[in-house]
């Protein structure tokens, strides 16, 4: 399993780096799809088949297709922003980067060691889907329901905004 894990891990890191480094937005999006797929591979190695495939269905199959859709429509070939904006963005970028570097240095100073190995992988005993479903509908029921409300609000909001404003009575559209 170790060589497979290293392979998927290396692919994940490399594609994630390419997402940030590549200049063409469509290519970046495609690298993001690849990194989601390698993450799914790591889930499969952990015997979490359900999570791994749901990762592909939801992120690679649905969300990234919509991303691509938007990128293709907007046709982001040229950077239309001017001097001040770019300077501001670069400044924020440098600051966040420095913070992350500090964080990484702090983390690296800690000693890391693997904990005791679990005898049974989570979810292996009862089947993945059943384990996930039980956790979702018992222990995490409240967050689950709150999330669904949030998504409903977002959906209704999107519909309201795309419908536009109706002309009031007596007003010509």
């Amino acid at each position: 399993m170790a060589p497979l894990f290293l392979g998927f891990g290396a692919l994940l890191v490399a594609t994630a780096a390419m997402v940030v480094l590549h200049r063409n937005p469509v290519t970046s999006a495609l690298f993001l799809v690849l990194s989601f797929c390698s993450l799914a591979g790591i889930y499969l190695l952990l015997q979490a088949e359900f999570i791994g495939l749901v990762q592909i269905i939801v992120y690679a199959g649905a969300i990234m297709v919509l991303f691509l859709f938007v990128i293709m429509y907007l046709n982001l070939q040229h950077d239309v922003e001017h001097g001040a904006h770019i300077a501001l963005r670069r400044g924020i970028g440098w600051m966040v980067g420095a913070l992350l570097l500090l964080f990484a240095a702090l983390l690296m100073k800690r000693g890391w060691a693997p904990g005791p190995e679990a005898s049974v992988m989570p979810g292996q005993a009862r089947g993945n889907a059943a384990a996930v479903g039980l956790a979702l509908y018992t222990r995490f029921l409240f967050p689950f329901e709150v999330t669904s409300m949030l998504l409903l609000v977002a959906m209704v909001g999107a519909i309201v905004m795309t419908r536009g404003r109706r002309p009031a009575a007596g007003e010509t559209p």
Partner: protein, 349 residues
């Protein structure tokens, strides 16, 4: 030699080797099957339109597929000057690979001989791969740098995402009945016969013979037309308005790969329909006949697909979207609720 025997003793190596061998076999058979499926489509379409179809090359035109492949291989390949070259090359490959991957989880006969692998979430493998199939068309349309191709690609991604929801929801009653996501368990749950309650008439245990699975079956078949981009949902390549849609700029073997992908997807989706609703490889007679039953059901369903394509007119785009979101999706959600309540009630009555 001894190292080879030692390697073979490892169970993981054995499983991988057998799976690779079976997949290679499936790939070979599929390539032949696809070319003759195209022949069948042309012949059936010909007779539907009161023509005879291909009949010049070989007896009954049976060598026509070979002539077609020869022509495609020898044709000049043309790549547009302003196309995005890398994506232009990747898109046709993406059209074929999801279909091949899905075949690794379809039970084609009694296990272990006719099953490549038994994944405990086999149905999700199919759904994941069909959701990745969108990329081929979207990217192919975008990379060509052609307005018609781009419009075709955009239409297809909107269409496939919309119909995927109804398709996924229509499989849930099947999962509830079988109590498993494994395609092998789903097939096993449809074995044998059962008596219609109150009578002595035996029915096969196939999914379609359970009343709460009839509507999901209909929804699944309708959405599979949309997922394979076939008429009446073939808007991504509506010739009358978009020239040839997403593959306008493709020629030679790259175009052939798109074509191959479309027909392979058709075989895959029909196999999944057989597995989920038509009892898989189960049928009367000894178990070894399973593969025959599977192929017979698959053939009948493929004929139905071709029949529908040549007898229904294409939908308008707004009709397509309204049908997917306002009819199929609510219907499948209501059906999930009804099936869940019924199955729970039966189990606890």
């Amino acid at each position: 030699m001894t190292t080879l025997t030692a390697l073979w003793a490892n169970e993981a190596v054995q499983v991988t080797a057998w799976a690779a061998l079976k997949l290679a076999l499936i790939l070979g058979i599929m390539l032949g099957a696809v070319s003759y499926l195209i022949y069948a489509e042309r012949k059936i379409c010909g007779h539907i339109q009161a023509r005879t179809g291909p009949n010049r090359v070989g007896p009954f035109g049976l060598l026509q597929p070979i002539a077609d492949v020869g022509k495609l291989l020898l044709k000049e390949e043309f790549i547009p000057e302003s196309a995005n070259k890398v994506v232009f090359h990747i898109a046709p490959m993406l059209a074929v690979f999801p279909a091949i991957v899905t075949f690794s989880v379809i039970p084609m006969g009694p296990p272990p001989m006719f099953v490549v692998t038994d994944v405990n979430v086999g149905l999700l493998v199919f759904l994941a791969m069909s959701s990745l199939g969108v990329y081929a068309i979207t990217l192919g349309g975008w990379a060509s740098n052609n307005k018609y191709a781009l419009l075709g690609g955009l239409r297809s991604s909107a269409q496939m995402i919309s119909y995927e929801l109804a398709m996924g929801l229509s499989t849930i009653p099947v999962i509830l009945r079988a109590g498993s996501l494994s395609l092998n368990h789903i097939v096993d749950s449809q074995a044998g016969t059962y008596l219609i309650p109150g009578t002595h008439v035996p029915l096969p245990g196939w999914g379609i013979f359970h009343w709460y699975l009839v509507l999901p079956f209909a929804i699944f078949v309708i959405t599979s037309f949309a997922e394979t981009n076939r008429a009446p949902f073939d808007l991504p390549e509506a010739e009358g308005e978009l020239v040839a849609g997403f593959h306008t700029e493709y020629s030679s073997m790259k175009w052939a790969l798109f074509f191959l992908g479309e027909y392979m997807n058709m075989i895959v989706i029909c196999s999944i329909t057989v597995t989920l609703f038509l009892g898989g490889w189960h049928g009367p007679g000894p178990e070894i006949l399973g593969i025959v039953w599977y192929l017979a059901k698959l053939g009948a369903l493929l004929f139905f697909f071709i029949w529908v394509r040549w007898t229904f007119p294409r939908l308008r785009y707004d009709q397509l979207m309204a049908f997917g979101w306002k009819v199929l999706l609510p219907a499948s959600i209501v059906n999930v609720l009804i099936a869940a309540v019924w199955i729970y009630w039966r189990a606890n009555a």
